[in-house]
């Protein structure tokens, strides 16, 4: 092959990263501005997530950990909102805490997006947030053992005794389900050690997509009843019938994944082309 040919393969193999970034940017921006409406299949885990919550009787109490940070909100926020839609539709009692310091602020953000009043839900009666509790697993263990000894106020510093929802809530045995939304493996695994193992609390977790492989052993062992990625929010929104940011992201997720596959193929073509041309 000519020198020009060799140069072409090398140039293709060494495409400036700015061009790759521009292509990724376009794959994100174009479907965001102009949604394509690509198909979104509902997977088994999203169905398991939905059915675990759906099986609970009205009035059951659910414990939620808003354990994600601001960086993870775009991925996990839509799932949290969709799940809250489902729980409030079912008239479940939802008590939240945060193992992440930004959790209370992100809880406010989620409630503003959700609009609990449309279900007739009231803060302190149907849902509450008991605040950020430092210490990750220490906090989980303490709350599971004796919630009232660990914290006596909600995230607004109002006494928990003032809220009807907190009546009869003592420890992990007071809850029929534990849900964790987190960007940190310390939280998602910590709840298994501190609540599932000692108290056998049913547990579902929503984590970043990159965390799924590491959490799979817990799922396959039955310690998790459902393990979903934040990117599956669209699937849960379809099940709950409240479309939101999750469904809107589905096109972006499809396009960027396809682009990544194209990058892999192109990179290999360039590599083998250069090798074949003696470069």
């Amino acid at each position: 092959m000519s020198k020009q040919g060799k140069g072409l393969w090398r140039r293709l193999e060494e495409v400036p990263r700015e061009i790759l970034y521009l292509l990724i940017f376009l794959a994100i921006i174009v479907p965001t501005i102009s949604p394509i409406g690509l198909a979104v299949p509902i997977g088994d885990e999203a169905r398991a997530w939905y059915s675990t919550i759906d099986k609970l009787a009205a009035g059951s109490t659910v414990f939620v950990d808003f354990g994600y940070s601001g960086g993870g909100e775009p991925e996990l926020g839509p799932m949290a909102v969709a799940t809250y839609h489902h729980m409030l539709q079912k008239k479940l009692k939802v008590i939240a805490m945060s193992t992440s310091i930004e959790g209370p602020l992100l809880f406010d953000k989620a409630m503003a997006e959700l609009g609990p009043e449309k279900y007739g839900s009231k803060y302190g009666v149907d849902y509450i947030h008991i605040g950020y509790i430092a210490g990750t697993e220490t906090a989980m263990a303490a709350v599971g053992k004796d919630l009232r000894a660990t914290t006596s106020t909600d995230y607004k510093q109002v006494s928990l005794d003032q809220y009807p929802i907190m009546q009869g809530i003592k420890d992990a045995s007071s809850f029929q389900l534990l849900i964790c939304f987190t960007t940190g493996g310390d939280q998602s695994e910590g709840w298994v050690r501190q609540w599932v193992t000692p108290y056998k609390t049913p547990y579902i977790a929503n984590v970043l997509a990159l965390m799924i492989p590491t959490m799979l052993p817990y799922r396959k062992a039955g310690q998790l009843l459902s393990l979903t990625a934040g990117a599956q929010a669209g699937e849960v929104e379809l099940l709950v019938k409240v479309p939101g940011r999750g469904i809107k992201s589905a096109d972006v997720i499809s396009m960027t994944h396809l682009l990544m596959v194209a990058f892999v193929i192109l990179g290999n073509i360039a590599y083998y082309g250069r090798k074949a041309s003696g470069g």
Binding site: R17, S69, G71, T136, E137, T183, D186, L210, M211, P213
Partner: protein
């Protein structure tokens, strides 16, 4: 008196105690042998490269906290820091350690100072310049480390400890500035990112073995030996459990649930 469902776990914990303490005692008499770990053997080459290029070496132990569940990984990283600092001192290379948790600073100062003393270059150590507390916030820390990489363009980057989402940011940025990289973490979430980008990789418990491998300290080596015994027991249980379950008897499952 014993809590039902936790008896086997208690038995295993006691057994592990015996293995680890016993391993440490045995190691005092005879040091256990380790298999080759390519990443650790490459450390002199990495620091040597930095010396030739007259560029610094960067070291980070990630988002480690001395009080958290990932403390073992941080401690493992600090063990390697001591060794790399000694190499850097010998070769006359500047090593910079980026700190995430302020409480680690006194410990790191002592480790690096002692390393420089061992290398006979005590006067060359400048804690203020070489140990930099950047931030206790994940992405502020990540941005600061990236800024260091772009400005000072180290020739080698060593990342051993608990890493979170910033792992990919670090790996790509240091690749871009031409640094040779060794990474190691026991946080399974981040191993794939390091595997794809870094030149050398330590996977999971290899980082715990790193300190022992480099220092040949009897206590650390013995501890690793004890851990390996624990792994053998786990393997035997798995193997026997698979056979028993395939034969239709839940004896091992019932034992584990006891």
């Amino acid at each position: 008196m014993l809590v039902a469902g936790r008896i086997f776990a208690l038995g295993m914990l006691i057994a592990l105690w015996i293995f680890i303490v016993g391993g440490m005692e045995l190691a005092k008499k005879k040091l256990p042998q380790f298999r080759k770990i390519a990443g650790l053997d490459a450390l002199p080459e990495m620091v040597g490269r930095a010396a030739e290029m007259n560029r610094p070496v960067h070291f980070t132990t990630g988002l480690g906290e001395l009080t958290g569940t990932v403390a073992p990984q941080l401690v493992a990283g600090l063990a390697v820091l001591g060794h790399v600092s000694e190499l850097a001192a010998k070769y006359g290379v500047k090593i910079v350690y980026s700190v995430y948790q302020a409480q680690v600073m006194p410990l790191a100062t002592e480790i690096m100072r002692e390393a420089y003393i061992r290398a006979g270059k005590a006067d060359a150590f400048n804690a203020e310049d070489q140990i930099r507390y950047l931030s206790g916030e994940q992405f502020a820390y990540a941005a600061a480390v990236q800024g260091f990489a772009e400005r000072e363009r180290p020739a080698a980057n060593i990342m051993i400890g608990p890493f979170y989402a910033e792992s990919q940011l670090f790996a790509e940025t240091f690749f871009r500035v031409g640094a040779i990289q060794l990474a190691g973490t026991a946080r399974g979430y981040q191993i794939p990112f390091f595997a794809v980008v870094c030149d050398y990789l330590l996977i999971a418990e290899e980082i715990y073995a790193a300190g022992a491998y480099l220092s040949k300290d009897a206590l650390q080596c013995g501890s690793i030996q004890g851990q390996d015994l624990g792994k053998i027991v786990a393997w035997i249980l798995m193997f026997v459990g698979v056979l028993a379950t395939a034969a239709g008897t839940p004896i091992i499952i019932n034992l584990l649930k006891a």
